[in-house]
Symmetry: C2
Subunit: 197 residues, 2 copies
């Protein structure tokens, strides 16, 4: 069953979807989602005072709230709204950090339809302000860190009528493979250290 | 009617509450809420490429989603969760910005119960990472910018058994009055310019 935003785009409740879906390349043996891994990573960073980075809550338009008893309000009617920003942001070593995480089961390319125009525009604004902005792509059995500046080039190519995806060769060229750890599972700060410090 | 979080703390749906409530000092003649004014301010900053600062969505635990037709998913059961961070963050001139906005109708002091321990802890983590962290207080017919570092002192005083509020004299001493504008209604970037650039 697919839930859709008013604009017709599919909503995927990530953790639930993960548990039900066919085995994927990256997560097939683990029962964890990309979102869960990133939440654990960010939790580790926070607890060890390395960085303060959180996932933003899913935006919801609340229409009707019921109040059955003193202890709890129940939302009885609400709708998903599309976010106008990326999902993750925060601070690391005095730098503003902003990113989006996406995955594909494709074997040879990463579809650009994983991003929407508002997110790209947001990332462009962040880059203009001097932020550290990137996407984490889970694809081809790897986690890739791709700078927003590089993503914009592929997005622009699509806007100009070019291909609607990034090839595996292109990702291997512009992306940085993120080391996998036990505690910091998707240890993307390592890449930020390399690129900005 | 008061909605409560599972911990018993009152939830206030800010825009609705504003429309119903008794006239307050700051907003009595305007029909606008602090949240709306800040959203307009941030929108102005964004449109004029001055800063990229957004309010985070209200955190909601979604339990049940109905799917009556192809075009829209309806959330039928959900609960408010307490946020572990502040409501607003983003980037301005390469600096990480993080703040919370609160108001009181008290005439002589600002109650510290407007903040909760998780938010204070979050602000402490942000300050340690080198972020620009503060609170915007709507009180005594003014908007005040109070640095998180100053708020911590009053919070600590309360933890040590001291008074549970900040007096108007104290706020006038440590706080910066935020200029009110037509487009940037609560023009807090002006204070950041003064303090950090």
């Amino acid at each position: 069953m697919i839930f859709r935003y008013p604009n017709g785009k599919a909503y995927e409740p990530k953790e639930q979807a993960r548990k039900k879906q066919q085995p994927s390349f990256t997560y097939s043996n683990r029962g964890m989602s990309l979102e869960e891994d990133l939440n654990e990573t960010n939790k580790y960073y926070l607890e060890h005072k390395l960085a303060v980075i959180h996932k933003k809550p899913t935006p919801v338009q609340i229409v009707n709230v019921d109040y059955p008893r003193r202890s709890a309000a129940v939302i009885k009617e609400a709708y998903f709204k599309q976010s106008s920003t990326t999902d993750y942001n925060g601070i690391y070593r005095a730098k503003y950090i902003d990113f989006e995480a996406k995955e594909t089961k494709n074997k040879t390319s990463f579809p650009l339809q994983n991003f929407h125009a508002h997110q790209i525009e947001h990332m462009q604004n962040v880059v203009k302000q001097g932020g550290v902005c990137f996407v984490i792509l889970s694809a081809f059995n790897e986690f890739y860190y791709v700078k927003a500046e590089d993503l914009f080039i592929f997005w622009q190519r699509q806007q100009n009528g070019g291909r609607k995806s990034i090839t595996i060769e292109e990702i291997n060229k512009v992306g940085y493979k993120i080391p996998i750890g036990y505690q910091a599972r998707i240890d993307y700060l390592k890449i930020i250290d390399k690129l900005y410090f």
